[in-house]
């Protein structure tokens, strides 16, 4: 299915990452945003509040982030593509209903323009320290998908991808950008609507008497209905059976949770999205994502000039983690240098997959400003020894 031209601002623009996220969401067909102001993400909501009345969307500024996320889940069941946008403190508050979205298998998107934490931290300055929270933040076992754009153009494209993946897999999808990407202004090319592929919602074709809301086929993803279609569905955040009815037993728990997890884990190969740079002859690799991946480039160039064969491996989809690819790197590389704006989050995933086969080092950063390329260069040099 192609994008609705009404929402697509085809042409060349000069946009910051936050505004590009808004345009991506509108192009992808989102027509509902419930949010609460928080730096550095607010510009996404601001632009959407301006644009939605022209495209038939509804923006509501809620009383808090718990309400925002709950409204997004409600709106999705009402039959619209819905998203919210926030940053660290708000992301924490959204965890409750992100869990609900995961449990109800609700397609929706959460954009997190990351800032330095913990707590109020650095409201106006960047961080990448919510990566593990995106993966594990709500209680219980579940799977989500997370993408990490590194430029305004990428914001536009990754938000579209996020919306599409949320529909395809019926999971909340996180767009893990950061203050730098959110506030940097660059050229953004928005293609014509007929070049933007849109994932339609997977509605059931079964009549109400045959339909079971949580009965999944081989792909482990059930088909959906929306409120008002006459199916009289019941959905609950309690552990439930295929009918959607609560069942308090370990057997029901095993069946449901296993499916929630496996519907992503068993299809992780389809969810590999990586950008590579100078990997052809690389002996050392930098693993980095989001804004940090761009800061690595001058360090990589400097090392290359000195003859160090270093490449860059950037996961665009961070969750599910590209395990096979990182295991492959561990087999081939002399060292993996992880560059992220935190004190080790994805680093531990890389280390887990490397399984002692190669040296994995971390160039940590508490957030607030990007890494110094010099620090990254030193780590590359060390890894190449």
């Amino acid at each position: 299915m192609k994008a609705d031209p009404k929402g697509v601002l085809t042409g060349e623009h000069y946009l910051d990452g936050d505004h590009a996220c808004s345009e991506g969401a509108i192009a992808a067909g989102c027509r509902f945003l419930a949010g609460y102001p928080i730096t550095p993400s607010t510009e996404v909501a601001e632009r959407v509040s301006e644009r939605f009345p022209e495209v038939g969307g509804v923006f509501i500024q809620m009383e808090d982030e718990m309400g925002s996320m709950a409204a997004v889940v409600g709106a999705a069941w009402g039959g619209v593509k819905a998203l919210t946008v926030t940053s660290g403190p708000g992301f924490s508050l959204m965890m409750e209903n992100i869990g609900l979205a995961a449990m109800l298998e609700t397609p929706c998107v959460v954009i997190n323009v990351q800032r330095g934490g913990p707590s109020t931290g650095l409201p106006t300055l960047p961080g990448q320290s919510d990566m593990m929270q995106a993966r594990w933040g709500s209680h219980g076992d579940y799977e989500i998908i997370a993408v990490s754009p590194n430029s305004p153009q990428d914001c536009f494209e990754q938000v579209i991808k996020a919306v599409n993946l949320s529909e395809k897999f019926r999971v909340p999808v996180m767009v893990m950008t950061d203050e730098c990407v959110g506030h940097m202004t660059e050229k953004v090319v928005i293609p014509p609507a007929d070049q933007i592929e849109i994932e339609p919602r997977r509605y059931t074709k079964l009549p109400p008497e045959e339909y079971l809301p949580f009965k999944a086929g081989k792909d482990l993803i059930p088909d959906m209905v929306k409120a008002g279609d006459g199916y009289k569905i019941h959905v609950t955040g309690l552990t439930h059976d295929e009918k959607g009815y609560p069942v308090m037993s370990w057997q029901a728990q095993e069946k449901l949770v296993r499916r929630l997890v496996e519907k992503i884990r068993l299809r992780a190969d389809e969810l590999v999205d990586i950008e590579e740079m100078q990997m052809e002859d690389a002996e050392v690799v930098i693993f980095s994502y989001g804004i940090s991946s761009r800061v690595c480039i001058p360090a990589l160039q400097k090392a290359r000039k000195e003859g160090i064969k270093v490449g860059l491996f950037r996961p665009i989809i961070c969750w599910p983690f590209p395990e096979k690819q990182v295991k492959e790197l561990a087999r081939k590389m002399k060292g993996i240098v992880v560059v992220e704006m935190n004190y080790g989050q994805m680093y531990y995933e890389v280390e887990r997959c490397a399984c002692g086969k190669t040296r994995v080092s971390l160039v940590p950063h508490g957030g607030g400003w990007v890494h110094s390329p010099e620090d990254i260069y030193k780590a590359i040099k060390e890894a190449a020894k």
């Binding site: 027509r31 509902f32 022209e54 718990m66 409204a71 569905i233």
Partner: protein
């Protein structure tokens, strides 16, 4: 001796509410003598009276004893998270304005953890009906003190008596902008049914409080007798005062309960105000949200 004639088996006769309940989930979890059953009956009766297609009515509940209502009503029904029934309903309603969305939940859900959502939905005049069963405590978790527990009442976390001032929910609803406010007890089934019917036929944020102190825990801890004693208490102590000043109906321990329809007024709903304003500002550029789009 000839066998005595037995009455026709009741279980084969269809329950009068069978078409509106998920009979495959009955028996329900509520205690004998609990007022939630009465509240659900009043709601089911109201569903028969309103002129809204059942397919277009959704029920949203939060968590707790009353939070289980969504699980028994045979409509599109959503059992959401604790306190978030109102924002969930907000999203559902805005996504598809054609739906009549009813929030059916308890006092802990609506006035405690969800209090912020309650006041803001009333302020915005979100077009939803909120039915709040006030049982004075957190019953599902074993009877802890709530934002609605009358002063001095004994609960499991106020073992020496409650010293916190409770909310008066009709006053809160009115002051925040609700267009319809009523309160009944679980004894007033007929009047409650009429109020639910009126609220469902009304546009805007409608609020109905149903007083039914938990007959198992609250009643036992406070030595108030069983369900029948509670009914007698409502009968002897509730006073119908339609249009009463909502500032004067705080519920005190074992004192008079003012019931009735207090507020019935008109205000533009969130979506009507949104659409009218955008139309005025953006003229032909404005495209109203026309319901489900995916």
């Amino acid at each position: 001796m000839k066998a005595t004639q037995v009455a026709p088996p009741v279980e084969t006769a269809e329950h009068p509410m069978a078409s509106l309940l998920r009979m495959d989930r009955i028996p329900h979890i509520w205690c004998p003598t609990c007022g939630i059953g009465t509240a659900v009956t009043a709601f089911a009766e109201a569903l028969k009276k309103v002129d809204i297609p059942l397919d277009k009515i959704s029920v949203v509940s939060g968590i707790g004893c009353t939070g289980r209502v969504a699980g028994y009503i045979k409509l599109d029904s959503f059992h959401s998270t604790h306190g978030r029934a109102i924002p969930f309903a907000t999203g559902l309603k805005l996504a598809n304005p054609e739906l009549k969305v009813v929030v059916f939940s308890g006092d802990g859900d609506i006035a405690g953890i969800g209090g912020n959502h309650f006041i803001h939905a009333a302020r915005r005049n979100m077009d939803i009906v909120v039915i709040c069963v006030n049982n004075f405590i957190y019953a599902m978790t074993g009877g802890q003190v709530a934002a609605t527990t009358p002063l001095t009442a004994n609960t499991s976390t106020s073992p020496y008596g409650n010293f916190e001032n409770p909310f008066s929910l009709p006053q809160l609803a009115e002051s925040c902008g609700a267009v319809y406010v009523a309160r009944w007890t679980a004894l007033h089934v007929r009047r409650l049914t009429r109020s639910i019917t009126e609220a469902m036929n009304k546009k805007g944020f409608s609020f109905i409080e149903i007083i039914c102190p938990c007959s198992t825990i609250y009643s036992r801890r406070n030595k108030l007798g069983d369900g029948l004693d509670l009914m007698k208490f409502y009968h002897d102590n509730s006073v119908i005062k339609h249009g009463a000043d909502t500032r004067e109906m705080a519920i005190e321990y074992q004192k008079q309960i003012v019931v009735g329809k207090f507020i019935d007024r008109e205000r533009p709903t969130f979506l009507d105000a949104h659409n009218a304003w955008m139309k005025q500002r953006l003229k032909d550029k404005f495209i109203a949200h026309g319901g489900p789009q995916c």
